[in-house]
Every structure is written in structure tokens, then in C-alpha cells.
Amino acid sequence: MDWTRILTNVLGEMLAPTTAAYALAAVGLNIHFGLTGLLNMGQAGFMLLGAYGFAIATIAGWPIWGAVLVAIAASALFALLLGIPTLKLRGDYLAIVTIAAAEIVRLIGRSTALTSLTGASSGLRGDSYKTTFQNLSPFPTGTTTIGPFSYSNNFSNSWWIRLVGWAIVLIACLFVYLLIRSPWGRVLKGIREDEEAVRSLGKNVFAYKMQSLVLGGVIGAVAGIVYVMPRAVQPDSMGRPMTFFVWTILLLGGAATVFGPVLGSIVFWAGLMLIKSVMRDGVSDSFISSGQIEQLGWVIVGVTLMLLVIFRPQGVLGDKKELAINVR
């Protein structure tokens, strides 16, 4: 077994843009679930809307800031539409509605009726929307090697997207840190603990929940943009499993904490890569095929999620007293 290569793979996965994107999506979900107690089961829908919004606007010739604004506006509108009917209902209604709404976004996106706009199930090619982002890069064209890692400076899976992705993650973490300590954040936590108590203090619970849903959704949309930068917009790769991975990441790292989502994402992807690499090297191909190793990885993720929720719902960093998952 070639441990140097395996560890290099694992380290590479820790810094990958995908890891940053999932961390960012989990930061958004943390505002929903960790701070406010909202069961958003459609985070992938926000990410997909963000990705579509950005890509379609860029293809239509919009500058990068305009395209990002389109993504943000699309996800904010989506949050409003979802929130108005459901935020007054019990928690698991929001769960069912958000999961259904995310599926609607995916089904409409992959429908052949909108091929000219969304590219149907084959999606939108990366090259068609990456240029504006790549042109912003201050780096010269070429490839840079740092230690064992060698990536292009600007194109696709580049140093540039790594830098920008993780910078956004850090900014989002700082934002959540300030939020938790603000009076606004305290009201959100109050809603999570006891909605009726907050209402009796004269706070408009519905409005606070809505602000939280929009804010977390917008962060999800930005995560969607980061996620599609090194690849293509593929509606089927951004379905229900993606939402469930974001949940696993959040619960792994610890909900209601600042760095929980980031730690969760790093541990999740690095752990998955470690398990898969070791199996690829250690298990003979005739016994388990490489496709099966991929699926075994997801089975392990599912079992991890179950065990986490049962035995350590506060995750690695969380405080068990602070987080009772039982929202109403």
C-alpha cells in the first residue's frame, strides 16, 4: 500500500474547492438549523439555484458581480416562497416542503423543455460560464506546484478557486461569529429554544425565521457557485444526496458552532477519501470493483449519520446542552 500517495490524496481533498463549497453550504444550513432550529432539507436546491443563476446570467453576457447578484436574488426569492407557507407550521412540514421544492428545481432544470436555458440533464458546460471568474485572477497563466500538489493557476480546478473559495468560507465564519453574539442572533437562538417564550416577549418570530431562512439560503447559493466552478452545472449531481451530505457535515462538525461546518466538511471529505483510497489499494479489484468502493463510501456516510444523531448529536465541537435537535 502506497501511504505517501494516499496521504497526499487525503491532504489534497482537505483543501479541494468541493470541500470549501460544502463547508460554505453547511455554514448556511447552520444558520437555519443550528441557530434558528429550522429543518431545511433542501439546501441542495438553494445551491442548484445559485449555480444556475450564476451560470445562466454569465452565459447571457452579464458581468461577474451581476451574475452573483442574480444567484443571490434567485435564492432569496426561493426562500421567501418556501418560508411564507411553512414557517408557521410545525418543523417537519418545512422539511418535507423544502425537500420537495429542491426536487422541483432539479426536475425543471433537467427537463428537456428548457434545454436551451439549462442544458437539460446534461447540464451547462463549465467553460461556458467560467471565463469571467478566471479573468479576475491576478495570477499569470500556468501551473504552480506547491509540495506534492500541482494545479493550474487559473483554470477549472485551480489555485485561484481554492483561494477564493476558502476566503469566502472564512468570511462566512467571521460573519456567523459576529451574528451569534449580536442581539439578532440571540433572538434566533431564543426561537430555537422556545418559540412561544420569544413570541411572548413581543418579537415577530415569523419575520426572524424568514430572515434566517433567506440568509442561510443565500450562503447556500454562493456555495453552489463555488461548487460548480471546477466542474459543470449538473442537476442530477445536486439532488437529495447532496442535501444529506451537507447535513452529515453539519452534524459531524457540530451545529450551532462557528467552525463546526468547516471542520465537518474537512473531516467528511478527507475521511471518505482515506477510506476509498485504502480500499482501492488494499482490496483486490476482482472482489470489489471501483464502482462498488464508491457506493460503499456512501453507505458508510449513511451509517455515520445515523450513529452521529443517536450517540453524539452535538458533533465534534458542539455543546450537548446547547443543541437539542428536537425542534417543533
Binding site: 410545525r90 426536475l107 428537456t112 437539460a120 449531481s237 439532488g239 464502482g291 457506493q295 449513511g302 445515523m306
Partner: protein, 460 residues
């Protein structure tokens, strides 16, 4: 534990209505714009005289592949060669209904490109006049599925009916029949979901996998072991019911004993659903599994055609649903089940063993879901690892529409959802029909969150 709106602020109701209309206004044009703008790659356009097969060929890097030769064989065995265009698109006319086979000529692929799953080339599909069937050949490095959803395997991605063939009474009758059949089978699957919610308050996201389990077990006993279909189906349903018993005994009973709340349990069901889904894929792969391979006998009644297997399935479904109704309404255990649904605490106080009832509900619910899976696998001609997962949200729609926790509501809701799914393909592209059912789910929650048959209750 009852469903309820936390608040019913009447002045705000109009805001919700307004938004519902706005939501519908956003959704409907995009849906109805479908048939008119349905862009078919290449020159072939489906109309009342012909259908189409089409697709896009893209390299692993996502670049369009031009000049790749595909050989299309029609049901009579006639072969035509077509070449993909500059944008990677290809299309072929379908002059008559039947099974078409499309083979990608791998020697015309650019160097370095190969098919991800060579055993899926040629790709066989049922094509119909008046609709476009899209096929996806994915190129990659030997069967590694990169998308977690398993979408990387070459497969029939979509069949979209184009509006050009028009809405005729024959089609309406056919779609309505299909809708009722689909609704009945959906009801078998959803009743367990509803009963489990009613007695324990748990939204079980792993219920779809119980459906898949039924279908896959029938496949295992019928195809791999070689037993006759009826026997395989009975064994599959019994094993599915046993799996429900075991699940409750080993997981959910333990969690209730540990006083783990229903929300936490719900997230556990999500983890379980993921583990089971990919577990199925691990053992049986991502392809379709046909439970029976014989050619079905077609029965024609007026404008409507269906297979003999479907007819028998419908009879079995109706008998099973009747038996469940009898059980709930006329037996002691059935009455106890309804009592637990109304109030577990009161039921326990009047001497009903709540845990025993919940165990029975899990066993019954999983068995019915298994039966639903077997029949659905026969009706859809094949089962696969995510058949139940794809149906899960339809089941939730049906159960919510009927009223969460109300068993007969699940039946009524399933029939409505079945009809909506099949009838909506008359006006919207076929690949968006599930979206219509999910839109209903959201609209029901807007206007009548207690569902058709549920009672309106308030807490707080």
C-alpha cells in the same frame, strides 16, 4: 403530535393565497411553455406521425463529440446509421412504436474516450410515436460513477411527450387508467408511511427503501433463484414484513426507549435511507433489474391498453387495501391502532400495549410497502436501486394530501397523486410530471395543511 398550524392568523391568509398564486404563476408558464419550445436536438421533431430518439454526446471533459456514428435498429430489425452533429447532438426518427436499440460505434470515438459501462452498449429502449425519448451514453473510465446520484451510467434519461400529437379522448382515457393503477400501487406503499406517522409521529424517509426492497427481493427469487413469480412475490412480501419487524425491534424501539425525539429519529431515517440505497446499488449495481423477462400479454378494452400482469396486480392491490380497511375498522387490534394514532397516552391508559401496536404497524407497513414494490416493479417492467427513493416524495405528497396519519387519507391522496402524475403528461413534458405532484404537495400545505381527510387542530 397532531399536525396543526401553530397560528391561524386570518388577516394573513390572503398574503398566503397571494403568494400561492404568485408561485403558481411562476411555475405554470415555465411548465406550459414546455411543449411549444421543446427543443429537440437535430432535425427530428416528434409529431402525430413519428417519434424521436435523441441525445447529446459529450466527452469526459464535457466537450461535445462530433462525428460519432450511432447505429439505430428498429423493431423490425432494420438498421440506420446516424452521425452526431457539431454540437454533439444526434437524433433519429421513430416511425412506429416498439423496442429500439441504439449502438454507439466505439471505433468512431476520438482517442482516449470510451464508454463508462460497455455492457450498456447497445442501449435498448421503448420508443413511441408522438414522443421524444432521450438516451444518455456517458463516457468515462470504466464504470466509476462520479455523480453520487448514480446518474453516470448510460440510461434512458427521459421520455417527453410533445404536445403536437394533441390531447385526444383516447389519450385521456389511457392516462386516467394509468393514473388510477399508479395511484393504487402508490397507496400500498404510502399506507405504511401514514400509519407509522400516525402511531409514532415519525416521518420515515427510509420508507422508499422498503418499497425497493420488495421489488429487489422479488427479482432475486424470480430471476436469481428461479422460483415462479407468485411464490417469489409471496416470499418477498413476507421478508419485507419481517424487515419492518426487525427495524422496529432493533432500531426504532431502542431509540424510543432512549427517549430520542422524533426529529432526531427522522434524521436517523435519512441516514438509513442513504445506507440502504447505496447498499442496494453495491450488491445489484445501477442498472434496471427485470423481475420477469417474458413478453407481456396485452389486453385492450376500448381505447385503453394494459398488460395482463397489471390487471392481476390491480386486483391484488384492491384486495390488500380492502383487507387493511377491514383490519383497521373491524378488528380489535385495528381499533387499538386507531386509538394509538389518536392519543398514545390515552390508549396506554386504557390498557392498550402501545409498543406492541407500533411493532404490528411497522410489520404491516413494511409488508405493504414490499407488496407495493413487487407490483410497481412489475408495472414499470423493472425495478432498480432507487425505485423507492424516486417514489418517496410522491408518497409524502399523497400522505400529506390525504392528511398525515390518516390511513384512508393516504389511499385517497395516492389516487389523486397517481392521476395528477399521469394526466399532467397530457399538458406538460413527461419528465416534469413528478414536479406537478410536488407542487400539489406545497399548495396543499398552503391552503389545507391538515389534508383532505385530516382534522384541523391547533396547538398553542
Amino acid at each position: 403530535m397532531r399536525l396543526a398550524q401553530v397560528q391561524d392568523q386570518t388577516p394573513r391568509r390572503w398574503v398566503r393565497r397571494l403568494l400561492a398564486v404568485a408561485l403558481a404563476a411562476i411555475a405554470l408558464p415555465t411548465i406550459w411553455a414546455g411543449p411549444a419550445t421543446a427543443s429537440t436536438p437535430g432535425p427530428c421533431a416528434a409529431d402525430s406521425t413519428q417519434g424521436c430518439l435523441d441525445g447529446f454526446l459529450r466527452s469526459t471533459e464535457g466537450q461535445p463529440l462530433a462525428g460519432v456514428v450511432l447505429k439505430v435498429t428498429d423493431p423490425s430489425g432494420k438498421m440506420t446509421s446516424i452521425t452526431s452533429g457539431a454540437d454533439g447532438s444526434w437524433s433519429a426518427p421513430v416511425p412506429a412504436d416498439g423496442e429500439y436499440s441504439v449502438e454507439l460505434d466505439v471505433s468512431t470515438l476520438p482517442p482516449g474516450q470510451k464508454i463508462a459501462q460497455p455492457d450498456q452498449n447497445p442501449l435498448k429502449t421503448q420508443a413511441r410515436v408522438g414522443s421524444t425519448t432521450s438516451l444518455l451514453f456517458s463516457l468515462g473510465s470504466g464504470g466509476v460513477s462520479t455523480a453520487p446520484s448514480g446518474a453516470a451510467s448510460p440510461s434512458v434519461v427521459a421520455t417527453s411527450g410533445t404536445g403536437t400529437s394533441g390531447v385526444s379522448w383516447e389519450r385521456v382515457a389511457q392516462q386516467a387508467t394509468s393514473g388510477l393503477i399508479f395511484g393504487l400501487l402508490l397507496a400500498l406503499a404510502s399506507i405504511g408511511l401514514s400509519l407509522i406517522y400516525g402511531t409514532t409521529g415519525l416521518s420515515n424517509f427510509a420508507h422508499g427503501e422498503q418499497v425497493t426492497l420488495g421489488g429487489i427481493l422479488a427479482y432475486v427469487f424470480c430471476q436469481l433463484v428461479g422460483l415462479p413469480l407468485i411464490l417469489s412475490a409471496i416470499i418477498a412480501v413476507l421478508l419485507a414484513a419481517a424487515s419492518g419487524w426487525m427495524q422496529d425491534a432493533w432500531i426504532w424501539h431502542q431509540l424510543r426507549k432512549r427517549r430520542i425525539g422524533t426529529t432526531q429519529q427522522m434524521i436517523v431515517t435519512i441516514g438509513l435511507s442513504m445506507a440502504l440505497q447505496y447498499g442496494f446499488q453495491f450488491f445489484f449495481g445501477g442498472d434496471k433489474l427485470r423481475i420477469v423477462t417474458t413478453t407481456p400479454t396485452i389486453i385492450t378494452v376500448g381505447p385503453v391498453t394494459f398488460t395482463r400482469t397489471t390487471l392481476i396486480s390491480v386486483v391484488i392491490a384492491i384486495v390488500a387495501l380492502g383487507a387493511v380497511s377491514y383490519f383497521l375498522l373491524a378488528t380489535r387490534i385495528g381499533r387499538a391502532t386507531r386509538a394509538v394514532s389518536d392519543s398514545p397516552a390515552l390508549a396506554a391508559a386504557s390498557g392498550i400495549s402501545v409498543e406492541r401496536i407500533i411493532r404490528i404497524v411497522w410489520t404491516l407497513g413494511a409488508g405493504l410497502a414490499g407488496l407495493g414494490g413487487v407490483l410497481m416493479g412489475l408495472y414499470l417492467n423493472a425495478t432498480n436501486w432507487d425505485m423507492g427513493g424516486a417514489m418517496l416524495l410522491l408518497m409524502f405528497s399523497a400522505v400529506t394530501l390525504g392528511g398525515l396519519g390518516a390511513a384512508f387519507g393516504a389511499l385517497a391522496g395516492s389516487l389523486v397523486i397517481g392521476l395528477v402524475v399521469e394526466m399532467s403528461s397530457l399538458v406538460i413534458p413527461n419528465d416534469m410530471r413528478y414536479a406537478g405532484a410536488l407542487l400539489i404537495l406545497i399548495l396543499v400545505l398552503l391552503f389545507r395543511p391538515q389534508g383532505i381527510l385530516g382534522r384541523a387542530e391547533r396547538i398553542g
